[in-house]
Symmetry: C2
Subunit: 147 residues, 2 copies
């Protein structure tokens, strides 16, 4: 008897998690991209600011994990953000290989300057899908992370 897994049909793309997650993200990101474009900040930098605001001072590898940006990309991005005064870094005194990153007041100002717009986008989404479903979706996505 052949391996049953090789006989199962390939699922519809709408029922394949990687594609479904990508499409959903593209949908949700569309208005946010417009916002970030106006603000002159890339998606990746926005995620860095959001993660640092949330986590406080963390090492660069942690920023990489939080933001899903590769370390080589992050090196370049943080260099630009430090030059622009949006983040600051210091060497970890306990382990001089480590670089500790934190958001600056100027970086935080970018978040607050766009908070109202970001909330408006979120409210529009909530009005379309409903708060309960969005929360359920976020719960499931978080659970997927933990596994």
């Amino acid at each position: 008897m052949p391996d049953p897994t090789s006989q199962r049909p390939i699922p519809k793309t709408s029922r394949a998690l990687p594609i479904a997650l990508l499409r959903a993200r593209e949908t949700v990101m569309a208005p946010i991209r417009d916002m970030l474009q106006d603000a002159g900040i890339s998606e990746q930098k926005w995620r860095v600011l959001r993660s640092l605001e949330e986590c406080g001072q963390i090492e660069q590898s942690a920023v990489s994990r939080e933001t899903c940006v590769s370390m080589p990309s992050l090196t370049r991005i943080l260099r630009a953000m430090e030059r622009d005064g949006h983040i600051a870094r210091k060497i970890d005194p306990l382990d001089k290989r480590r670089s500790l990153i934190r958001i600056t007041a100027k970086g935080r100002a970018i978040l607050t300057a766009n908070a109202a717009h970001a909330n408006k986008i979120y409210d529009d989404l909530e009005a379309r899908l409903g708060r309960e479903k969005i929360n359920k979706l976020l719960d499931l996505l978080e659970e997927l992370q933990r596994h």
Copy 2:
């Protein structure tokens, strides 16, 4: 009184849909990336094959929408896939601006060659999160698309 939306705190990144969707996708994609690497096929080409298998012969703009690949990128990708015999194209006789794309037997062979492995990855995920939760997640993602 100030706009109340500007006073609301920025949500945790784990409760922000764009970031949560990205992280979830990175988690799910990790084993699939290994599979595709072994198969020598890019993520984008894999999505093209999956979408064509599902939709039959469709025009290039539709491939772009289905796969979330921009038209300029798709032009390059389809050129390579046509060269490799994985897809075929013909001009739409009813509208000669349109390019109709379909998967070839050789392209379909890539899907079937990796179906067992892909199913194994899916089964592992299902074992961790549970079929019910995965289906609920897919339902919510599909609903997000429709809105």
